[in-house]
């Protein structure tokens, strides 16, 4: 594939590498941390994410009911063209199958976190592995792996995910997670590789090498940890995209087929759209939740990136 292909994606990655793999990483990090705490954007983003995490983790304690239980008092009044609203014990009323909508929204945080985190993590792990291999070994391995990422970057993200889902022989929650994850593999791979290459020539690595530290140890102890900052920033941003892509897949009918699962993207893309006229809340609430969480992660990711920008130290 062409060299200049998707130059911008690459350039963004390079920028991030440059910002995070500077020598004197520790003081830079401390600096960045301080700047982060002073940045209102970061605080807003962080608060949103914290709230989201708390709800996700303590969902069983917060939610009034089991998210997949069907309640007779709700199903009694349920028909295909009318869905009961708030009643005693069910503050947000029913969903299209007579389940407690409030509980589903709350458990939705957990499932959404699950999908987002896993999609990000899987993409990150594979990407980091490939990137580290390329960066550490170099030579033809590097060449091959980078051509591979080029091909993957050639397809726009959602399109690649759609294609992967279509090409999967079965549709499960994992199909969606993996499709969204694979989209991010090349980004992480390039990121890590670049960062490691930048460090290969840096003072502390040269020093370690001069001291006779084994190559494996240099990679694991010195190069990898220093590269992770960039990876974490990217992961924060990736999370937002992952949950948006999962929602889009659901909307296209290619998402998680198990509608028992309370996941915001699924709730919005399937029930929300189908029953929009009957009960618009079924769409508004998950949509709002997705926007907020995506916003939170974007805000935090961008402010970390900004905080790490050496220009801002001037």
């Amino acid at each position: 594939m062409t060299r200049a292909l998707s130059d911008h994606k690459r350039r963004r990655i390079d920028e991030l590498i440059a910002r995070t793999s500077e020598p004197g990483g520790v003081s830079l990090l401390r600096d960045a941390g301080r700047r982060l705490l002073r940045n209102p954007t970061a605080i807003v983003g962080g608060t949103i994410i914290l709230l989201f995490l708390v709800i996700a983790i303590f969902a069983p304690l917060v939610a009034p009911h089991d998210p997949i239980q069907r309640f007779p008092e709700l199903t009694q009044k349920l028909t295909v063209d009318s869905i009961p609203g708030a009643t005693a014990g069910h503050p947000l009323g029913s969903d299209p199958l007579g389940r407690d909508f409030a509980s589903r929204m709350i458990f939705g945080a957990r499932q959404t976190l699950f999908v987002g985190v896993l999609a990000t993590l899987i993409g990150l792990l594979i990407g980091v592995l490939l990137g580290a291999l390329a960066g550490a070994i170099g030579g033809w391995v590097d060449n091959l792996l980078m051509r591979l990422t080029d091909v993957m970057l050639a397809l726009p993200s959602l399109l690649l995910a759609i294609t992967l889902v279509a090409l999967a022989s079965r549709s499960t929650q994992w199909t969606v997670i993996i499709a969204v994850a694979i989209v991010n593999v090349p980004i992480f791979a390039r990121l890590l590789r670049g960062s490691m290459l930048a460090q290969r020539e840096s003072d502390h690595v040269l020093a370690a090498r001069a001291l006779g530290v084994k190559r494996r140890d240099i990679v694991l102890r010195h190069m990898l940890p220093n590269s992770l900052t960039a990876v974490i920033v990217q992961a924060t941003l990736t999370f937002a995209v992952a949950i948006l892509d999962a929602a889009a897949l659901s909307f296209l009918g290619l998402g998680d087929p198990d509608i028992n699962r309370a996941e915001w993207g699924l709730m919005l893309g399937v029930d929300g759209v189908r029953y929009f006229e009957v009960r618009p809340e079924l769409a508004y609430f998950p949509a709002l939740a997705i926007i907020l969480v995506a916003l939170g992660f974007t805000l935090l990711g961008e402010s970390i990136r900004e905080a790490l920008d050496p220009k801002n130290r001037r």
Partner: protein, 555 residues
């Protein structure tokens, strides 16, 4: 609201025109408003929103409703249905007769009927159609004659072929001889796939040329550009860029001439968009409004027309699993399902719990079959009697699909699985894309223990329902020798005498419910149509076989 909206809309349209004509001399005269009904001629235009692309317009090579919708307007069949029912009435044949052996069919054709190309419809033309189907050459063409293969068993040279010959006794009498009696007739003569086409046009436009190209086929000019039948509308064209099929009134139609001058079938795949177009007034009728939107549309004054139910959704049970070979386990499954609640909560308007695998308008429907009222305790008791407590079953359900009998497979699965769990049966849900594994896994390989599937009837015959599912060994239900069932259905289907056939099928239905229970019938769910207030004369057909010549659009 609407009036102000219209004002704004024309202001906006005017604005865009102004933008366009900057720099250009003279302003274009515009308000060729959209929407039909206001054409200059008497009848105006009727715009109907269909749900999918047709394949082509040669009846014999098609097997789906979206292709049949335009085909049905352009062609006629020998026998047809009384509007709004599944009862037979004369089509191109004024009357028909079956001899005592059940093998010879004599059709008395209507006089003076002409194809759109002016050639006469006579017995020779009818026989030319039968002979064309039977003698079709090439695997490509044959493989696309799905209804023909199903009903007529095979082609020239095949020992399974049902068709023998067709003779033109005189200009208006066609005699079709079969090799054996088949219960599907005369009902199957109403199938749109067996519409009579103009032999002249077919010859001229090379109708039998079907060529394979890659993973699919190309069809002839006849099928794509020159479909020629006797129907109330003639072919105007198919604009694929805008998804519009235009049909023009056939002024020489033998029956009730179309009330509108032009009809456009606009293809809109998304049900939500179809509804919105109806509200915007840009189409006058839509097919398959979402069940959830029925009430809102009706409240706003749109006409929601329910088709009489002529379909069935069932829960298939695969007896390859030894546990499921036990009748008590299958009965337990039937008792465990709260079908009344499913109909109430998820059934489209007019849906009803099914106790048999055919609607009650079909011959052979028995009034006294064993019913399985929702009863969890009974289910649990049967399971423990059968020693099948702690049963785990793989429940296959399709994704990426909606069918008239199954508007939302995922929801239906979720509800049914929930019921089964409540009775102590563990359910392992296995979703598969409709064309990407579901049909393969269920109907080819029989990987499932349970699955949901259904059927829309083609014509009024019990064989078309019960026979299709249970008349022969199918992996779908465990390809076991359920010989007693196959024999009983085969015998009932082969009964020439109608009264005896009725009795035989009633017994089949009783046994299906009480003795065999190869599946649990779930519901009959009629698909609806919706039209604007000013559409008159649209008669919903249980077979989704509406003809639009009776439709008029008032101002």
């Amino acid at each position: 609201m609407r009036a102000s909206g219209k004002g704004l809309r024309s202001a906006l349209a005017a604005g865009t025109i102004a933008v366009l004509t900057i720099g250009a001399a003279g302003c274009a005269e515009s308000d060729r408003d959209n929407g039909g009904g206001e054409g200059s001629a008497s009848g105006g235009t009727f715009i109907f929103a269909g749900a999918g692309d047709p394949k082509n317009f040669d009846p014999i090579f098609n097997d789906d409703g979206e292709s049949f919708r335009p085909i049905r307007q352009m062609y006629d069949t020998l026998i047809t249905h009384k509007p709004g029912t599944a009862e037979l009435t004369g089509g191109l044949a004024e009357s028909w007769e079956n001899d005592a052996s059940g093998k010879v069919w004599t059709f008395k054709l209507r006089q003076g009927v002409k194809f759109h190309d002016g050639s006469p419809l006579d017995a020779a033309a009818v026989c030319a159609n039968f002979d064309r189907w039977f003698n079709m050459k090439g695997e490509a063409a044959q493989s696309q004659m799905i209804y023909y293969q199903d009903v007529f068993g095979g082609f020239a040279g095949s020992k399974d072929a049902v068709y023998d010959n067709c003779k033109a006794q005189d200009a208006s009498t066609a005699v079709v001889t079969m090799t054996r009696y088949k219960g599907a007739f005369p009902g199957a003569f109403t199938l749109t796939a067996f519409s009579i086409a103009s032999p002249t046009a077919m010859k001229q436009y090379d109708s039998d040329t079907v060529t394979q190209n890659g993973d699919s086929f190309s069809y002839s000019a006849f099928a794509n550009e020159h479909p020629t039948g006797t129907g109330a509308f003639t072919f105007g064209g198919w604009n694929k860029a805008t998804g519009e099929i235009t049909l023009n009134k056939n002024a020489d139609y033998w029956g009730d001439k179309a009330k509108v001058d032009k009809m456009i079938i606009k293809i809109i795949k998304d049900e939500n968009t179809r509804k919105q177009e109806l509200r915007a007034g840009t189409v006058q009728a839509i097919d398959y409004p979402a069940p959830a939107d029925r009430k809102a549309l009706a409240d706003e004054g749109y006409k929601v027309l329910d088709r009489p139910a002529f379909n069935i959704l069932y829960l298939g049970i695969n007896q390859k699993n030894p546990k499921l070979k036990d009748l008590r386990v299958r009965q337990a499954i039937a008792y465990a399902l709260n079908r009344a609640q499913l109909v109430q909560t998820k059934g489209p308007g007019g849906a009803a719990v099914a106790d048999e695998f055919l609607p009650n308008t079909v011959l052979g429907y028995a009034q006294d079959v064993q019913k399985y009222e929702y009863n969890v305790d009974k289910a649990k008791q049967l399971l423990s009697e059968a020693g099948a407590t702690g049963l785990t079953l793989n429940f296959y359900y399709p994704t990426e699909v909606t069918r008239p009998y199954m508007p939302n497979p995922q929801e239906i699965f979720t509800v049914l699985a929930n019921d089964l769990q409540a009775a102590g049966i563990k359910v392992n849900g296995v979703p598969r894309p409709w064309n990407g594994g579901f049909k393969d896994d269920v109907q080819q390989f029989g990987k499932q223990d349970l699955h949901i599937l259904g059927w829309t009837g083609d014509y009024n015959d019990p064989g078309n329902f019960v026979g299709t599912f249970f008349g022969r060994g199918k992996v779908e239900f465990g390809d076991q020798a359920m010989t007693e069932m196959f024999d009983a259905i085969g015998k009932a289907d082969a009964t020439v005498d109608q009264a005896a056939k009725k009795t035989a099928f009633e017994q089949v239905n009783r046994d299906l419910a009480a003795k065999w229970l190869p599946a649990v019938p779930i519901w009959h769910a009629p698909p609806a149509l919706a039209t604007t207030k000013n559409v008159e004369g649209l008669v919903p057909s249980p077979l989704t076989a509406e003809e639009f010549n009776t439709v008029s659009v008032t101002k």
